[in-house]
């Protein structure tokens, strides 16, 4: 190799190395550099279910399912707002296809004049305790009958404001006005829906708290002939006791939640519809929880001659959950439902498992 050739190849090599170095520097200054610090906190969740039914032979009640997968993002937007986005792919009932749903897409103010919070966008409507939970946070595999029957899918688009009341205990009031798309409302007769929730909390011992809540919402209904008005009202009350051992880390704990939901009765109703449930959960080992729950609904049904009577459903359930870390759990559950028509009674045996990956979840209270 001549000296010139050596010089040339050295120059080419040096150029390549330099170019590679520049390219690397460019990459790190854009896609992997400081801009990455501004990425939202990201987490994902998967929820699976295996189930057999004693009395219901339908494919929806027997099989192994991916119930839903969920992606959550949260971040500060600018000096004024924080944003949340939760996208869910949930299995459609009686089908193996999935619906994409935006569970939450909202802005929340960062500076709070007079301590007032403002949420704009799509969000869970605050009604009672259960309606605000994601399925992977449910204390039992299925939502209580009272929730499914009267306040399903409490997600809507609009504005909500919240603040604490100047009382000697913790008392929070949330009021909202939304578009009227949520489960209990009539989408064809879409009109403004609004509501409020007041929750009060007391420390009744060093390690135990009592929460008493009241909820109300009002929105468009389907049949003003029946109800006497195009708006229907729903009322709710809830009482929760929580306790956890203050002396043993990840030690015994109790959650006991009771909730009643009362929709306004129709004009020609013969009784008051309502739904109630009581859920008791006990942590009996570092990684183990036991749950016992029961509930009932009394709802209207139209019989001969248009005379309404109330029909009843009762339910009972028991589960054991293995929670080896904050990021995964497996639970086995037996649930029983009984209807006013005994032909629709059912016992279900279920196994559900769930994972969370990504940013550390805050411990819900």
């Amino acid at each position: 190799m001549s000296n010139n050739q050596k010089l040339l190849s050295t120059a080419v090599l040096v150029t390549i190395v330099l170019l590679a170095g520049t390219a690397g520097a460019q990459t790190s200054s854009t896609s992997t550099g400081v801009s990455r610090l501004m990425n939202p906190a990201l987490s994902a969740n998967g929820l699976f279910l295996a189930r057999v039914s004693r009395d219901d032979p339908s494919p929806a009640a027997n099989g192994i399912f991916l119930q839903e997968a969920e992606i959550q993002m949260t971040s500060v937007v600018d000096p004024f707002w924080t944003a949340d986005l939760i996208v869910v792919w949930a299995q459609k009932e009686d089908s193996d296809t999935y619906d994409t749903m935006i569970e939450t897409a909202s802005l929340r103010n960062r500076s709070m004049p007079a301590g007032l919070g403002l949420t704009l966008g799509k969000f869970f409507l605050p009604f009672g305790k259960h309606a605000m939970l994601h399925p992977h946070q449910f204390p039992f595999i299925d939502a209580p009958l009272a929730i499914d029957e009267f306040i399903p899918g409490m997600i809507d688009v609009g504005v909500s404001m919240d603040g604490t009341l100047p009382l000697p205990w913790y008392s929070e009031l949330v009021v909202y006005g939304v578009d009227g798309q949520a489960g209990p409302f009539n989408r064809d007769n879409r009109d403004l829906a609004f509501g409020a929730r007041l929750s009060n909390m007391w420390d009744i011992s060093l390690d135990g708290t009592l929460e008493l809540g009241g909820s109300f919402c009002s929105g468009p209904n389907a049949d003003s002939d029946l109800t006497g008005s195009s708006q229907s009202n729903i009322f709710g009350a809830d009482l929760t006791y929580k306790w956890s051992s203050g002396s043993l880390s990840q030690g015994p704990a109790v959650n006991w939640t009771n909730e009643i939901v009362i929709p306004e009765p129709d004009r020609n109703a013969t009784g008051n519809p309502f739904g109630f449930y009581s859920h008791f959960q006990y942590r009996f080992g570092r990684s183990w929880w036991l749950g016992v729950g029961g509930g009932l609904t009394r709802d209207k049904s139209t019989y001969d001659g248009g005379i309404e009577t109330l029909q009843g459903w009762n339910e009972g359930k028991i589960n054991v959950a293995f929670v080896p870390s904050e990021f995964s759990s497996i639970r086995a559950e037996i649930s029983y439902q009984e209807s006013h028509e005994s032909s629709r009674n059912d016992v279900r045996y279920s196994l559900q498992w769930n994972f969370t990956i990504g940013s550390h979840p805050a411990h819900l209270y």
Partner: protein, 309 residues
């Protein structure tokens, strides 16, 4: 004469009430150690309360909204940082609606910023197969009193910024605290002379700043994956290791799952040394110095001088 007396009394009353309305700085800390340091630095010029009571493990404090009532009125929030409070502090801050102490606010103080050295910062890849690890490093730094001094000085600067009138007092009290630590250091050091020749098995990485400060030799952890119950195989490994060594001390916090720790100690044939996790976690340790005293005394007691044969 009577008129003058009345006037003086009235003036004193007015001053007294005026003094009260010149509100003390309201300081809220997350853990009890930080509360004790804040009290030492703030003296009568501050009112200190803490979110996590001494006997409770701060990794798992329930985010009771009632706690956010304390935060709602705070002028200064001193928190431990390094993700110790990751499961609950942000929820409480949301509910507290207090812009003074929100991230970026003047009263938002991450005390870990005062440290010079953070232990156990993971090098390389971390994932949760290692348990619910503290990804920013070990957060239990107040177990080294030298770190407490750094935190005290940082608190005095921040309190001085928020309450410039009393700035000199804050600085002075932080130095008093520092001198107190310096005075006690030789005794604490001497107490553990024997323990330095022993092999220490700890339950959780909670003790690393203490053992590092005192030059103690940690040979194993029972809960090797934080937040996750140790596997029987790992526990057996620790017991085997302990049995191969002479002079083992097994240490756990009073809130740990002591049945496992007891089993390890028993099968190695040594008593289990149960220590307070933070100030106030055990009776008689409310004071920060009493707390450090207790740690040193208990470990020293567990390390009797080797008997010469």
């Amino acid at each position: 004469m009577n008129f003058t007396k009345t006037l003086i009394v009235a003036a004193m009353l007015v001053l007294a009430t005026a003094g009260q309305s010149l509100a003390e700085l309201k300081v809220v800390t997350t853990i009890s150690d930080l509360a004790r340091i804040a009290e030492a630095v703030g003296g009568d010029d501050v009112e200190v309360s803490t979110l996590c009571p001494g006997p409770r493990d701060p990794h798992y404090l329930p985010a009771k909204p009632s706690l956010s009532r304390k935060l709602a009125k705070a002028d200064l929030l001193c928190y431990n940082g390094l993700e110790l409070e990751i499961g609950w502090l942000s929820l409480l801050l949301d509910k507290a609606r207090n812009p003074r102490i929100k991230p970026g606010g003047q009263g938002d103080m991450d005390c870990s910023n005062a440290l010079e050295h953070i232990l156990d910062v993971p090098d390389g890849n971390v994932d949760r197969s290692m348990g619910d690890i503290h990804a920013l490093g070990n957060p239990h730094y107040t177990l080294n009193p030298e770190n407490a001094v750094l935190v005290a000085r940082a608190m005095s600067r921040r309190m001085g910024e928020l309450d410039p009138q009393n700035e000199a007092d804050y600085t002075e009290r932080a130095e008093v605290f520092a001198r107190e630590v310096t005075t006690r250091l030789p005794h604490w050091h001497d107490q553990l002379a024997e323990a330095r020749s022993k092999s220490i098995i700890i339950y959780h990485q909670h003790w690393n700043y203490f053992t590092h400060w005192q030059g103690l030799n940690v040979v194993g952890e029972i809960e090797n994956r934080p937040g996750i119950a140790p596997s029987p195989r790992h526990v057996k490994g620790i017991i085997d290791r302990g049995n191969d060594l002479d002079g083992v001390i097994v240490i756990a916090a009073q809130w740990d799952h002591l049945e496992v720790a007891r089993e390890v100690a028993e099968r190695i044939g040594v008593p289990l040394t149960i220590l307070p996790g933070y100030s106030g976690a055990q009776e008689g340790t409310d004071d920060y110095f009493a707390f450090i005293d207790r740690l040193c005394t208990r470990v020293a007691e567990a390390a009797p001088p080797a008997v010469k044969e």
